[in-house]
């Protein structure tokens, strides 16, 4: 069979577990702390002792509902808790508390930017399609490589702008259906390092997880990658999860199969679920591998189709870059769900749901579109500022008194560098909006130049003075008095005869010499000269000298 004659269409759905940002567990008040000593964050409830009473964490429920709202889900007025029975040492009760037939959220949708003009070209519900190209979102392998795994959330902190990567202009959004979103508790950890025994640490047992299940609407490994990146961005923006990959706070399970068109007929391979992936890269690599594997298996065996083979679970081997069949899972899928008699239902009314909707507010994609058109920012810069909600809020407050495009440049340059150096966000620097706005304004007005603005910014970190006061104190107010600048130019020319000669007569060094002279004038002026005026006066001076030759 000729591989090139096959038309291959991957069909991908995702199951994601997101750890919610609570201080305590879902049904007991044990603190959640990554890396705590083994079995030091446990109590009778999460140890699964008989006779205990679990009580629902209100914050966990609110985070879950807010996320479900952001995923455009219907919010259930009535939900209950079910026991999912299975026997495993990291789950001491022998059941997991979950939601079976009445999830708290259902029938939602999430719009993911994709590099495919064929799909819809506007984000849904609200974001104005102002036609601005998305400046190189991480839509393909090339653009996304080299980023830290937690790239988007850490965008400001790492000082890297995840969205300014390639020249690819994605033009569309893929609408991914959300089947359901429900709350459940995490299991503990089994460690298999010692011979003869398995060590069990139950600190993680009972940690709140939001499980999100999508329709199989994703059409490539890259789309799935984008979906995961955008979902991480959403939950961190909402404050619903820290979503740290390193801490295992987001785990992904793609369901993959392939529709193969050959000789006028369509064949579908059996679905494989790849278990427990914990990085974006693993999601993409595992899906790419699965697509190739399934096509090859079908080419070798015409019976390798969905109605002749069962769904299979596979594990991803990061080192070898392959997925492997996991035996024995089929029979274990007998969870015998039933309502948990220890937990009462949750019933909410429209007023409460409205209050949750208000607290969700504008979603990242909508806000990004609005901010870029309202403040004259590139989409990429707006996305970077939006990686952290408090920083985005600070930006908008500062923009009122400031010069928004200049403020945008200052946010993504020196402010994010300072935040990065201190391992915090721009909002975390603690500089008030009025001063941020003022610095952008005096820069845009030409009172100080860009170099001086960076110096002033540094001083602002340790002083509560206004940027203007700092500029005056440090002598950084830009001089536009041409007579003064002319005097500095004369001085620079007198002191640097060689450079003047090169600028006039050495074609190879002309450009370099002019740059050098400009630098000398700036130096003599102590950074106060307006570079535009300097450039103009140097040109005039050189023109005059060459006439005199």
């Amino acid at each position: 069979m000729d591989r090139s004659k096959l038309k291959i269409r991957p069909i991908i759905g995702m199951e994601i577990h997101v750890q919610l940002a609570t201080k305590t567990k879902l049904f007991c008040a044990c603190p959640i702390e990554f890396g705590a000593p083994p079995n030091s964050r446990v109590c009778p409830v999460c140890l699964g002792m008989p006779g205990v009473l679990p009580v629902l964490n209100r914050t966990a429920y609110e985070h879950a509902v807010r996320t479900a709202i952001a995923l455009k889900c219907e919010i259930a007025r009535f939900t209950k808790w079910d026991r999912k029975s299975y026997y495993y040492p990291d789950l001491p009760k022998n059941y997991q508390i979950s939601q079976y037939d009445l999830p708290l959220g259902f029938d939602g949708a999430f719009d993911v930017p994709v590099d495919d003009a064929a799909v819809s070209n506007a984000p849904a519900d609200g974001a104005p399609a102002d036609g601005e190209p998305e400046g190189g979102r991480p839509t393909d392998g090339g653009s996304a490589s080299g980023r830290p795994e937690s790239g988007v959330a850490a965008g400001l902190r790492t000082g890297r702008s995840p969205r300014k990567t390639s020249g690819t202009e994605s033009t569309g959004y893929r609408r991914v259906g959300i089947i359901r979103a429900h709350l459940e508790e995490d299991a503990g950890k089994n460690l298999h390092e010692k011979p003869g025994i398995t060590q069990v640490d139950l600190n993680r047992t009972g940690t709140p997880l939001l499980e999100i299940v999508t329709e199989p609407d994703l059409a490539s490994a890259d789309e799935a990658y984008n979906f995961c990146v955008e979902l991480q961005r959403l939950v961190t923006y909402l404050g619903a999860s820290e979503a740290s990959m390193q801490k295992g706070q987001m785990r992904f399970e793609p369901n993959v199969n392939v529709a193969i068109e050959y000789d006028g007929r369509e064949y579908r391979t059996p679905i494989a679920e790849v278990k427990n992936l914990n990085s974006f890269k693993a999601v993409r690599d595992a899906i790419r591998y699965e697509i190739e594997r399934q096509v090859s298996e079908w080419m070798a065996d015409p019976d390798y189709v969905i109605n002749k083979r069962p769904k299979e679970n596979r594990g991803w081997d990061d080192v070898r870059g392959v997925t492997e069949f996991q035996r024995g899972k089929e029979e274990a899928h007998d969870y015998r769900y039933f309502p948990d008699p220890d937990l009462v239902p949750v019933e909410v009314d429209d007023a409460w749901i409205e209050s949750m909707k208000d607290s969700v507010g504008e979603l990242p994609l909508e806000r990004q579109a609005r901010m870029s058109s309202e403040y004259g920012l590139s989409s990429a810069d707006a996305a970077t500022i939006l990686a952290d909600r408090a920083t985005a809020d600070l930006f908008e407050e500062a923009a009122e008194a400031g010069h928004p495009p200049t403020l945008g440049k200052q946010f993504i340059s020196f402010w994010s560098a300072h935040a990065n150096a201190r391992n915090t966000t721009i909002a975390g620097l603690g500089i008030d909006a009025a001063r941020l706005g003022e610095l952008s304004k005096i820069t845009a007005d030409g009172l100080v130049n860009a170099t001086a603005a960076a110096i002033i910014a540094e001083k602002m970190l340790s002083s509560s003075d206004t940027p203007t006061a700092i500029a005056q104190r440090e002598g950084l107010i830009q001089t536009r008095d041409e007579g003064q600048v002319q005097a500095w130019v004369e001085e620079a020319f007198t002191k640097n005869e060689k450079a003047v000669q090169d600028a006039l007569a050495n074609p190879k060094k002309q450009q370099q010499a002019r740059g050098f002279l400009t630098g000398q004038v700036m130096k003599i002026s102590g950074g106060k000269a307006d570079p535009k005026v300097v450039g103009k006066l140097i040109e005039e001076k050189l023109a005059k000298l060459s006439q005199d030759l």
Binding site: T22, K23, T24, C28, A29, C30, P31, P37, P38, N39, S40, R41, V42, C43, P44, L47, V55, L56, N57, R58, T59, A60, Y61, K80, S85, Y86, Y87, Y88, P89, D90, L91, A187, N190, L191, H192, K194, P195, G196, I197, T198, Q199, V200, D201, L202, E253, K275, N276, Q326, R327, G328, K329, A332, D334, P339, P341, L343, V344, P345, V346, V348
Partner: protein
Amino acid sequence: MPGKIDDAQVRHIAMLSRLKPTEEEVRLFSEQLSTILAYFDQLSEVDTTQVPPTAHALPVSNVFRPDEPHVPFGPDQALANAPRRDGDFFAVPKVLDQESA
């Protein structure tokens, strides 16, 4: 009243619970479980046509707890009744199959 639960169902539940009953126990349990289920069947004699379905026996909903930590057990208290421990871990027979979902 035998027959409600057959031997195959008992073996299946035993497998899910990682138990290995003898053939004799399988027969015994299928009889006992059938009798227990038949006893519960008496409940179906009650006329429930006017009773709305419910997921819970209590007429209560929305019991929440604030997200405030308590002082948890330390490892010694947590492991006090463990059949076997290894340092601050519970020690269990080697788990051979894959990590749970």
